[in-house]
Amino acid sequence: MAYYAIKGGEEAIKNSLNFYNDFTKNSEKIEDDDLIEAFTFSIDKVMSEGSLYSKKLASQAIKRSAGDLLNASFFLRAHRSSCQRIGICKELDVNDMRLSRRISSAFKDIEGGQLLGASNDYEVKLLVDIKNEKVDIKNYSNKNNVIKSALTPLREDNLIKILPKEDEPWDITRVFPTAPYPRSSVLQVMSRGESGTLLGFAYTSMRGYGDVHPTIGDLRIGELDIKFIHPFTKKEVKIGSIEASAVESAGTFNKDENGDTKLTTGFGFCFGKNETKAISMSIIDLTLYNNSYTVGTEQIVASDFEMVMHHVDGIESFGFANHYKLPHYVTFQTDYQIFKSAKKYVDEQNRKDVDGDIK
């Protein structure tokens, strides 16, 4: 971003960046491994919004941003642009996840039990010194928990509304679609979306600007293997694994295109551990595809595709919000001129009477 028209601009910019370094220089002492371990949720948020799975790069971006996580996501997106796409991995099925946490609010008990895993859900948020009780975890299991979604029995009984599947998933980073938006593009936008924005939109739906009444059917956190066809050997290889969050919410019921009554569901998915984002995404998915007449569609943000597709990306909104700091004195000058002439016109009219003569 060049700074036009100001003399001595370059000097000023250099000095500004130098001052900014005061913020970031202290974080350079922190080792990436320590940051990754200590601030795991920050790392996960940055990877998800940066749309690039690399804990090390996320760590560096956070350090360079002195903790501003949206700015760090920006770094990751920019880095992503510099990477060449080697290929596309095999489709991931969240039912294959090696689970570290899996709950369902819809059922009291489920196959494998309610795996609480590591969670702060039950933490009492008091900033007082709580004696750290060392809990001796005697009987923990090392086995791989791979369990299908808790809504699978309902799906197998043909009770769940299945949306038509696309032949090829869309990639918004190559072509941004126009309406009607393919569902893969909608989910992609949300998965890369800014966590707070998604939460806000989902909250409007939860509070009644949407008729969904969601229940979490399956919330899971765990590891997924990334498989890839090797370009030379043409054999399938595992190139690594990612940690991800996935949520399947059940909504209300309605009639599908064949007139059958089906239960509606929504899906949320993102890199790393971000339950709030995955829950929000699944609720927005529900609200978008199950617009209801009861509340009306006029003022509903979460059921408006235009609202979601164009407003949830953090890097875009962050960039545009901050762009207002760029010089705008030319445009403002034009605004001011128009204002002055309009005011002059109205004042003149007020001085005239009904017949057009000056009073």
């Binding site: 008091l126 009861t294 509340v295």
Partner: protein, 276 residues
């Protein structure tokens, strides 16, 4: 930490709001809801109501989805007990103050008991009119036509209301009220209850109440039955009760089992059988 966590001014304001709510059954009263150490949506409204009325003579019971042992109930009970040292119990008959999420205890309550409900959304009109300003005018006009038309549309399309829990009720022939997400099975228990029923919504910052012996009826057509959840041929596998609200539970082999949702009721049934 002071008794019951909240300072006295906070408690006074909440008590005044509760009194106003009791004076106008079913009417939603605003109150200065504080952030509590548990997250909003986890029962902060019920918690604030309980903390402002609890005293040393009370015996506290806390349930979530009918169960004393559920994590949310345990968390809240531990917190309240840690800031009051109050006696706690799982026995519904022995409790003076019961805080609940999503269910009314199976056995009938007595005079002198207080039931505090945790409420996520306090205004039943939110389901048909999310704009709070418009909803307030509707309540003032007793204009519940949108709820009635919703009932009409559901009845013509699906034979009955699509509302599964949180069924709208009319209190004292005047206000349409949100009973919190209790099953329709529990809705009739709101009517003419001997206990005082208080409702707290922390995130939405509202309190409302049903004084004892108040008329509360579900919003339904006069010529239609109020259908509640059906457990006809099923009984609890633990205590054999055929009269209680049952939980459907799948084990690891995919086989379904039925148990009383109200765990204290189940225990008391077993005790009764043992005595015989």
């Amino acid at each position: 930490m002071r008794y019951a966590f909240l300072d006295e001014e906070a408690k006074k304001e909440i008590r005044r709001s509760i009194l106003k709510a009791i004076a106008i059954p079913g009417y939603i009263v605003s109150f200065a809801s504080r952030e509590m150490p548990v997250a909003r949506g986890w029962g902060t409204g019920g918690l604030q109501v309980t903390l402002s009325i609890i005293n040393e003579k009370d015996t506290l019971k806390v349930i979530d989805q009918g169960c004393d042992g559920s994590v949310n109930a345990v968390n809240i009970r531990n917190f309240i007990s840690s800031v009051t040292n109050v006696k706690t119990t799982v026995d519904t008959k022995k409790a003076t103050l019961i805080q609940t999420r999503h269910r009314i205890p199976q056995i009938d309550l007595e005079e002198g008991q207080i039931l505090v409900y945790q409420v996520p959304m306090p205004d039943i009109l939110e389901t048909v009119e999310p704009n709070t300003a418009k909803a307030k005018i509707m309540h003032a006009n007793a204009d519940y036509s949108k709820l009635w038309v919703l009932l009409y549309e559901d009845t013509s399309m699906y034979g009955d209301s699509r509302i599964s829990n949180r069924y709208p009720v009319i209190v004292h022939n005047r206000y349409a009220m949100d009973p919190s997400p209790i099953p329709k099975y529990d809705t009739p228990k709101l009517n003419n209850n001997k206990a005082l029923q208080l409702f707290g919504a922390g995130r939405e910052k509202k309190i409302y109440a049903i004084p004892p012996y108040t008329k509360v009826e579900p919003l339904k057509f006069e010529d239609r039955e109020f259908k509640v959840e059906n457990f006809e041929d099923k009984s609890c596998q633990r205590c054999n009760s055929k009269n209680s609200f049952l939980d459907e539970v799948y084990d690891d082999n995919g086989i379904v089992h039925y148990y009383c949702n109200d765990t204290d009721y189940c225990d008391s049934q077993i005790k009764k059988a043992d005595k015989k």
